[in-house]
């Protein structure tokens, strides 16, 4: 492990972006960072709200029309190397909001997330369990650590 990877592994900053889901995933993710029960900070993963500081972007929600451009802007603002985690059923396939009839796609929803920005790790669940978020964050780490 190079010195760069070694130091990167000790300060992974996660930014949470909420793009119009039902809030359940967001509460669970904030819960998994802040609450003493799950405590993602013990793995040296911290929550930040500044995209220029972040390494990992966690996206929840089905990307509503108004959120599409801000999400792209936030993704651009994160410095390389970066990883994107899509968390929750809405972020993975649009959830119940997109195309529930099977014939008329909803005009309000631009998701799933991988149609807007590239996604590296996917965490399923409605809502996601904090354990799965931990696993997803850990799965995305090699992308950051092995990058040149």
């Amino acid at each position: 492990m190079s010195l760069k990877s070694y130091s990167r592994a000790r300060a992974v900053h996660v930014m949470l972006v909420y793009t119009g889901g039902c809030n359940g995933c967001d509460i669970e993710i904030v819960n998994c960072v802040l609450s003493p029960r799950y405590d993602i900070e013990q793995y040296k993963i911290f929550l930040t709200w500044n995209p220029r500081e972040a390494d990992v972007l966690v996206v929840t929600g089905p990307v509503t029309r108004h959120n599409k451009e801000p999400l792209k802007a936030i993704y651009e603002a994160i410095p390389e190397p970066k990883a994107v985690i899509a968390a929750g059923a809405c972020a993975l396939m649009g959830g119940v909001y997109k195309n529930i009839h099977g014939d008329i796609p909803s005009e309000e929803i631009c998701g799933p997330v991988d149609e807007v920005i590239p996604v590296d790790a996917k965490v399923p669940g409605c809502a996601v369990r904090p354990e799965d978020v931990l696993a997803g964050a850990v799965a995305a780490l090699p992308l950051l650590l092995d990058a040149e």
Binding site: T19, G21, N23, I27, L34, P36
Partner: protein, 381 residues
């Protein structure tokens, strides 16, 4: 002395600087995207404007034309914090329209779920409020206490966020309570009561927090009534209105309607702390007097009904659902959530605050913009 006077005469008159401070849509203090524009004069907020619409998903449009069972489970996806109250109210609309009697045991289990959800919502509010306040120790502590409620919800409903317990005519068989589960709920609420009273004692007797939040972000009683504020935010201004008193499901239970007098951030926070004890009281009564019997009433028939409406007391205030049934499908669906009326209070509470208190003044009204963002304006072209 002369020199001093001369100095003051020559110093220019203090210039008032007017600026606009936008917060959001993605901001650290607010988990959800919404935009607050603060019009500031010398760090004092003179006017505030909240813009919503960022997370509009058109859920009523999706519900239109769905079978009623499917539409009910979709209402749960309106909000991840108060999901149970949405599905409960939606089911109550169908039961009111089709005149279905619900077994008493199912009513009790529904109330246990609703009160557990109120506990988790209020604890989340308190934890978030303390985080915005800058007191991370209390915030962590409350998240730790809240885990107990989440575990109980997961045990009863099978999931930590979306439970889907009420169905038309009763509750889902998954949520049936046996003796072991009742024991676990009892242990959980005993633990919760002990930890919460410790927290309340420390919170009230902390002079630093109290001096920070007393008299900040005041909503006056008459203005709260004028702005049609509802729920705990209204009760914190001194109006004793609780829709649980009017709901026939809550008739067997004995509980107090908590009110506070001042309408400031202190009243709002204490309001939620004290309401938690009332919820614990209701849950304890429900598990002690849980009636025997079946949990679902399957003897009902689908008919066409006119538009039926129902109000319930959600954790944030008055929640309204209405729809008509036609051929077993939902028509003319309208949902109004408590936060849409509380937005007026949020804007109002900011005025006169120091700019550092503005986010706290918004958070004190317990905003839930996921619920709120469903209104659309149809423009004829």
């Amino acid at each position: 002395m002369d020199e001093d006077n001369k100095m003051t005469d020559e110093t220019p008159k203090k210039q008032v600087i007017e600026t606009e401070v936008p917060l959001g849509p993605v901001h650290s203090a607010a988990i959800e995207p919404y935009r607050v524009r603060l019009f500031v004069e010398d760090e004092i907020v003179k006017d505030a404007e909240i813009t919503i619409g960022v997370n509009h998903r058109g859920i009523e449009r999706i519900m239109e034309g769905l079978p009623v069972e499917k539409a009910n489970s979709l209402t749960e996806k309106i909000c991840g914090i108060c999901s149970n109250i949405h599905i409960w109210n939606s089911v109550l609309v169908a039961e009111k329209a089709l005149e279905i009697d619900v077994p008493e045991r199912a009513q009790y289990i529904r109330i246990i779920m609703a009160e557990l959800e109120r506990l988790h919502s209020h604890l989340l509010y308190l934890a978030h409020g303390n985080e915005v306040l800058g007191h991370e120790t209390f915030s962590m502590r409350l998240f730790y206490i809240r885990e107990t409620v989440m575990e109980l919800l997961r045990m009863v409903g099978g999931n930590r966020v979306q439970y889907g317990v009420p169905v038309i005519g009763g509750i889902r068989p998954r949520a049936e309570l046996d003796q072991m589960k009742i024991q676990k709920i009892e242990d959980g609420i005993n633990f919760l009561e002990e930890k919460l009273s410790n927290f309340a004692e420390r919170f009230i007797s902390d002079p630093m927090i109290m001096s920070r939040i007393t008299g900040v972000g005041v909503i006056k009683k008459e203005d709260a009534l004028r702005l049609a504020v509802s729920g705990p935010t209204l009760r914190a201004t001194g109006v004793a209105v609780d829709l649980r008193r009017d709901m026939k499901e809550y008739d067997p239970f004995d509980f107090d309607v908590i009110t506070q007098d001042d309408g400031d951030i202190k009243s709002n926070l204490l309001m939620r702390v004290l309401e938690n004890f009332e919820s614990i009281k209701i849950i304890r009564q429900a598990i002690n007097h849980l009636p025997e019997g079946s949990i679902t009433n399957r003897s009902w028939e689908m008919q066409d009904t006119p538009i039926t409406k129902n109000y319930v007391e959600a954790p944030r205030g008055k929640l309204y659902h209405s729809y008509a049934l036609n051929d077993g499908r939902v028509r003319h669906c309208i949902i109004r959530t408590p936060s849409i009326t509380n937005i007026g209070a949020m804007e109002y509470a900011c005025i006169g605050c120091h700019i550092t208190d503005a986010q706290l003044a918004v958070v004190q009204c317990d905003p839930c913009f996921t619920c709120t963002d469903r209104a659309i304006q149809i423009i004829q072209l």
